[in-house]
Amino acid sequence: MFEKILTKARMLSPWVLHFDCGSCNGCDIEVLACLTPVYDLERFGIINTGNPMHADIFLVTGTVNHRNKQVLRNLYDQIPEPKVVVALGACGLTGGVFREAYNVVGGVDKVIPVDVYVPGCPAKPEAIIDGVVLGLEKFRQKASAMHS
């Protein structure tokens, strides 16, 4: 019974931490567009927190390079379980057009485990919302695995 309520509450209150991991800001602008009256993410209880310790879903945009991979790892470790990682945009997925550059490690999944990949250059707000909703399903599975 309590388990059921907890699961429902989890699905209805995903707090998002958005990290720009060296993106061109295209995807970041789309992420912020989700909060505007047009898309109004808060309808689903989604809050864009600035604090990894309060977050449930980790939205990462941009390529990972050798300077910021520690930061990415650090932020991931600071998010309390259960957590879900959503990689956004072509760069976040594979490194995009920068993948050949000497300083680039590649996509987000080279450093931390990624649950949902949202393609696009930049990813559209609709796709981002879709990705987060898909992430919620993963979130539910992870949470129930944590309890059993």
């Binding site: 907890l6 209805l12 600035g50 310790m53």
Partner: protein, 284 residues
């Protein structure tokens, strides 16, 4: 008599989280409507808190966990005392102890955001505590007692005798509810220059405790508001409703100010208005 006391204790303990959570949900919807958004469901604050209880417990510091519990205890005791119509000064002091514990908890972590937030929260406490005492003194001058019981024995609403002190209470309310322009230390809006300020290092179940404690405090300060119209319940509800609506409106139309402005303006306006009201009560 004992039965009545027990009932009031239970009512106080239950009303805090229940009313406080609903008020917070209503607040979020109204704020969203002000910004031409739809906003979250009414029960959103409850979902948030339940979810936080289900998160992994990351304790930065044992003291911080202790302080969060102490804050919740103090906030709930002060609301129960309010429901028991106890001594105003006692309620204010217990509430202040809780507020200080929250600050101590934030100070116990090394995060610079948490530290800066705690400093600002101390300044907020410094700003509103004297004003709250002035309100209690005003009620004493009028009724001859610090007991809330005495306020309920009045034949005329307190608002007619203490109009300026009511304005001062609104000022305190804005600080206490963490509304702009005084949401310096931490705010309900997700982002600010201090990340989450005071609450940065409180996380998971411990953050949930501070949230519930904040609900208790919200109900307590709105309860203070209702003391200004005790002659009929409808008047009290109307007064609290209008006050809260104005608070949300102010939150949405004003920017965040710095602590110098808050302390200067708060003390200059608050203390002057309080003294004018107190002198008028005394001379009359």
């Amino acid at each position: 008599m004992t039965g009545h006391v027990l009932m009031m204790i239970v009512a106080g303990l239950v009303a805090g989280p229940l009313l406080g959570g609903l008020i917070a949900g209503f607040d979020r919807i109204l704020t969203a409507r002000f910004q031409s958004r739809i906003g979250p469901p009414l029960l959103q604050p409850f979902y948030d808190v339940i979810k936080l209880f289900g998160k992994e417990k990351q304790v930065v510091n044992v003291w911080q966990a202790f302080c969060a519990n102490a804050y919740l205890t103090a906030a709930s005791i002060s609301l129960v005392l309010f429901f028991l119509r106890s001594d105003l000064l006692l309620i204010l002091f217990i509430q202040a102890v809780g507020a200080v514990f929250l600050v101590v908890g934030a100070f116990s972590s090394t995060s610079p955001y948490s530290q800066a937030g705690a400093h600002r929260e101390l300044l907020q406490i410094l700003c509103y505590e004297p004003l709250l005492i002035f309100i209690a003194v005003g009620i004493y001058l009028h009724t001859g007692s610090f007991k809330i019981e005495a306020v309920y024995a009045l034949k005329q609403p307190l608002l007619l005798k203490l109009p300026f002190l009511f304005l001062v209470l609104n000022f305190v309310l804005t600080i206490k509810l963490r509304k702009s322009p005084f949401d310096l230390s931490t705010s309900h809006h997700a982002h600010q220059e201090l990340v989450k300020g005071l609450l940065t290092d409180y996380s998971g179940p411990i953050l949930a405790l501070t949230e519930i404690a904040h609900w208790y405090e919200t109900v307590l300060v709105l309860g203070f508001c209702s003391l200004f119209w005790t002659t009929n319940p409808l008047g009290a509800i109307l007064l609290v409703g209008i006050t809260y609506f104005v608070e949300i409106w102010i939150d949405n139309v004003s920017a965040r100010m710095n602590w110098r402005w808050m302390l200067g303006y708060g003390w200059a306006m608050g203390i002057t208005l309080s003294l004018v009201n107190l002198v008028w009560l005394y001379v009359r």
